[in-house]
């Protein structure tokens, strides 16, 4: 589904070039659950940004379902994004919209008919366990619930891929584990999940594929990986 071929990414120019990623090669198959681990600045987030085309690689190719997205046009970008759901450490919920409206928003901007929105949103909120918080505003619910709402928003247009960048970074261990279990459940239902984290316990408990990064390079890629740096 996703393939990185000799990907290099640098920031800055002239004497101030900082290399974020170098010589990155890997493949992610459909319905896989892959965790990227590493210290801050190892390049986890950069890899995720390259996948949802927030950044473009300096050199190399990134294939998504066989098409090269490293040269995607700004016109095509929204359509690429609609195939992907994104979840972030800071949830990125709209503070002036309720949980229901936040989730519906993802469908509205993609031009879904209103009838379908009214059907899908409660369904997806039921899956993440927020049926009783539909009318609440983000500041009225807990961090774990906010992240569930964000996952619901990422899922509601049924993307083939979920990208989660440190989704548990702001949560206590119990809420964090709840989020990870939710991601595992989503994965079981057939969605590819790419997770970036530096939480050792989570990685060790998930027992899925782990790609370890250090200073912009892949140093380990194990199919039943553990957190080891």
């Amino acid at each position: 589904m996703i393939e990185f071929i000799n990907v290099k990414k640098t920031y800055g120019s002239g004497n101030l070039i900082a290399t974020a990623l170098e010589n990155i090669n890997f493949k992610i198959k459909k319905e896989e659950f892959v965790s990227f681990v590493g210290h801050s600045g190892a390049g986890k987030s950069t890899i995720l940004k390259l996948i949802y085309a927030e950044e473009k690689p300096t050199s190399g190719e990134i294939l998504f379902n066989g098409e090269d997205i490293s040269k995607i046009s700004s016109k095509q970008l929204p359509y690429h994004r609609r195939r992907i759901g994104t979840v972030f450490q800071d949830y990125k919920l709209l503070p002036k919209k309720t949980v229901y409206e936040n989730v519906a928003f993802a469908l509205e901007v993609s031009g879904y008919p209103s009838r379908e929105i009214r059907e899908s949103v409660p369904q997806i909120l039921d899956i993440v366990g927020l049926s009783n918080k539909m009318g609440s505003y983000p500041h009225e619910i807990s961090g774990g619930e906010q992240q569930r709402a964000a996952i619901a928003r990422a899922l509601v247009h049924r993307p083939a891929l979920i990208i989660a960048d440190e989704p548990t970074g702001n949560l206590d261990p119990i809420s964090a584990w709840g989020i990870i279990q939710l991601l595992l459940k989503i994965n079981k239902l057939g969605t590819t999940v790419v997770l970036a984290t530096h939480d050792k316990d989570i990685v060790n408990n998930v027992k899925k594929r782990v790609i370890t990064l250090d200073q912009g390079r892949v140093i380990r890629d194990h199919s039943k990986g553990r957190y080891a740096i």
């Binding site: 700004s74 016109k75 929204p78 990125k92 993802a106 509205e108 901007v109 993609s110 247009h157």
Partner: protein
């Protein structure tokens, strides 16, 4: 397409009333700019109307000696009408001059008494000449003074008018020039301030735009709410500006300019009212939309 427009239109209205204080700031700045611009427009229009009004009042009167036969005056008139600078020429007989004089002084009985005391009509017959262009009176007056009729002419009352006409012409020129200058100056200021205020409101929406992009909103879908918001700003500002402008013109003008002129300004204002409002509306929405488009540009880059 319809879905996009209806949803973004709704979002535009929501942005407008949910960001109360910023909307008020943007609208009041825009209103002020429009008001200043339209005051300049009103001044320019009324200056032109005033010019026309006074042009119509200006004429040259050629007074004939009291023993001149009427046929001579008719000849003079037809000759004058051949000049291309002349718009019209009317003969005012002694009797008509007297009745007009009485009508003009009907509220001054002592003057009327004095006129009646004189048995013979003391007024002279005249030919009133109007020029196509007020700057041509010089030429007309000169050629009359050198014509074959100069023996019969008692006087030409052009010289005493000349100063007034000249001064008026130069005032109009000044008003026009400063009007254009002020118009450009204030338009620029208005554009800059409006742009900045709208940029601030869009900056306020930074996270929202980021999220829209992440969930796959097209650039148009992100842009349109702000475009609609700009249109709302412009429309509201234009409405407030015109509402403020009406009392300003009706109440303030009589204090600034002479009462004879007020009628001209106010009838002129009523005639051009729709035009001024349309200009405000167009200018306001254009300003709002262009500022929005410029301000949002940097959020849409990859």
């Amino acid at each position: 397409m319809f879905l996009t427009i209806s949803r973004t239109l709704k979002a535009g209205f929501q942005n407008f009333y949910r960001n109360g204080s910023l909307s008020v700031a943007a609208v009041s700045i825009l209103t002020l700019s429009l008001l200043i611009i339209s005051i300049i427009i009103v001044l320019t229009i009324t200056a032109n109307l005033g010019l026309k009004y006074i042009q119509d009042k200006i004429d040259i009167r050629v007074y004939f000696k009291s023993d001149t036969e009427e046929s001579k005056m008719i000849n003079f008139r037809s000759e004058i009408l051949k000049y291309k600078e002349v718009k019209s020429a009317d003969i005012v007989s002694k009797d008509r001059a007297l009745s007009e004089f009485k009508a003009n002084n009907s509220n001054k009985p002592e003057i009327l008494k004095a006129i009646e005391a004189v048995e013979e009509n003391p007024l002279l017959a005249s030919v009133n000449i109007k020029a196509v262009d007020p700057e041509k009176y010089d030429v007309i007056a000169n050629s009359i003074e050198n014509s074959a009729y100069k023996e019969d002419i008692a006087s030409i009352n052009y010289q005493q008018y000349k100063l007034v006409i000249d001064r008026f012409n130069s005032t109009i020129q000044t008003i026009r020039k400063t009007g254009i200058f002020l118009f450009i100056l204030f338009s620029l200021i208005a554009i800059l301030i409006t742009f900045n205020v709208i940029r601030m409101t869009i900056f306020n929406h930074g996270t929202e735009i980021e999220i829209m992009r992440l969930v796959g909103a097209s650039n148009n879908y992100i842009r349109l709410p702000f475009v609609f918001e700009g249109i709302i700003y412009g429309t509201v500002a234009a409405c407030i500006a015109i509402i403020l402008l009406i009392p300003m013109v009706k109440v303030v003008t009589p204090y600034i300019i002479g009462s004879a002129y007020v009628n001209v300004v106010q009838t002129g204002f009523t005639t051009y009212f729709v035009l001024i409002f349309l200009i405000q509306l167009l200018l306001g929405t254009l300003l709002g939309v262009i500022s929005s488009l410029l301000a949002i540009r940097r959020y849409l880059k990859i």
